[in-house]
Symmetry: C2
Subunit: 291 residues, 2 copies
């Protein structure tokens, strides 16, 4: 990035892993004249300042978004509704509004109810990136590099606003694509929300077994990787699972049907069927990644 | 390790990831006078020779175990029964026999039926180590370092034989512990076999969904770790799941009961219950590992 900044004033509401990493990435390329970090916790914002993640912080929402060109909402899904309600009264008319929520249908409903309709400068977004860590201390500038960001623009969405948000994410090194809202929520339920649900549930089950001490003592490397996502933030994943529950429960039902069939094949020692499923899964996984 | 070898002639039947890594680890400390690799595939054994994993190879089982002091059976669980039957006629009386099978009840039954009882020099064993890779090319000397090896000696098992096997594994850097057979199979079903089952099943389900291309395309880092074990050897895991199916299906039933409760809590947006489970799981996982 050379020359003058593309965005004059960018405001990030919720400077955690995602918001903090976005700020770091945009700072690294001089994309913004000023990056303002906003939120409710002065301690949290002060840490973001100390880490050099943002240029200025505000706990007052009106002061934060005053004269903003772009506002990125990166708070947990469960905090979106209340935030959009407060934002509706203070957001400058010309300001582009986007979010980083892991489910899109619920965010769009929150915006619609808060603003009494979809503002034409609102661009729903979702960076497919993250780790099991959370908080600004875990943020880093390369989090989005080569990762995908999905935008789910609506009929009401202004093309310039969409282009502004797409260009911002591209400046972090991400690849931006578009998708329908319902489709996004189904795909993410299957590929992200369901695995988290299974990992949390399995660790919970094992941790309540009588021989839990030995179960965990004799866990091998595979278990460590398999359960890593169960170390994710419980509140954040609660919000996602509840907000996106219809597609999530649908994906879970499909999984359960297949798992029941597999269990029956194992019970009856139906080697051909068990092998067929395991081989099919291995082929799919191997095609996906070269670990 | 200094001075003369502890074991004169060690025979490893099945020179794959586990057998090959055991050979490499014992070679590195000069633990054996000679390490013989045995198996049915000349090509496979030749690769083990070329990699310097073993000193000599034999495809003839009688020739392989002749004058052996210790025989380690590291073939897949499904190949154990036939192997023990062939071994029963040729194993020297004084030779210590052990195995590296991931389930112990089934191996012990295979030995009992092959030998017409439990030989007093048979020590069932299970190194809790491995990766999603398999084959001798993936073997390495440090695979067992700081990992646990569980022995499940029986009433018939000779103490000297047990000590010989324990000392051999300790020479690889592993920590050796003992456990009852049924308890071992329950603990490993919960901590290893069930996660593999879930990972294979999930990847299979997702790979058959209509929007599978996008599901995999938008999978993030968490999915990669969660599904790594679905890249494991299908035949090996078929053998384990079928051989240890009673404890595995019991663990699966416990998991399913809890998962059903969790799904109901999500469906009814019972935030308190969802958060309780997620927090409990995160605490258990965080206490287990410091990633």
């Amino acid at each position: 990035m050379v020359g003058s900044p593309v965005v004059n004033r960018l405001v990030i509401i919720g400077v955690g892993l995602i918001g903090g990493s976005l700020a770091r990435a945009l700072k690294a390329v001089g994309y913004c004249g000023e990056i303002v970090g906003a939120g409710r916790s002065p301690d949290h914002l002060q840490l973001a300042m100390e880490l050099g993640v943002v240029d200025r912080t505000e706990t007052d929402l009106g002061a934060a978004v005053s004269e903003a060109d772009v506002v990125v909402v990166a708070v947990p899904l469960g905090a979106m509704r209340d935030l959009f309600r407060r934002l509706a009264g203070v957001l400058p008319e010309s300001c582009v509004l986007t979010d980083a929520g892991s489910a899109k249908g619920c965010v769009i409903e929150d915006v619609r109810s808060a603003f009494g309709g979809i503002p034409d400068r609102f661009v729903p977004g979702h960076p497919i990136a993250g780790t099991e860590k959370s908080g600004v201390a875990a943020s880093f500038a390369d989090l989005f590099r080569t990762r995908r960001v999905i935008l789910t623009p609506l009929a009401e969405t202004d093309h310039d606003a969409r282009d502004t948000v797409a260009a911002m994410w591209e400046a972090t090194g991400a690849e931006v694509t578009e998708m329908g809202v319902a489709h996004h929520d189904e795909v993410l339920a299957a590929t992200s929300h369901l695995p988290h649900l299974l990992a949390f549930s399995l660790v919970d089950t094992l941790s309540r077994m009588d021989d839990r001490a030995e179960i965990f003592r004799f866990a091998a490397g595979g278990f460590r990787d398999f359960t890593r996502i169960a170390s994710s933030d419980p509140q954040m994943w609660h919000d996602i699972c509840v907000a996106n529950r219809a597609p999530l429960l649908q994906a879970l039902a499909a999984f359960n049907r297949d798992l029941t069939d597999l269990a029956r094949a194992i019970e009856t020692a139906d080697s051909e069927e068990v092998l067929r499923i395991f081989r099919h899964a291995k082929t799919a996984r191997d095609n996906l990644y070269r670990d």
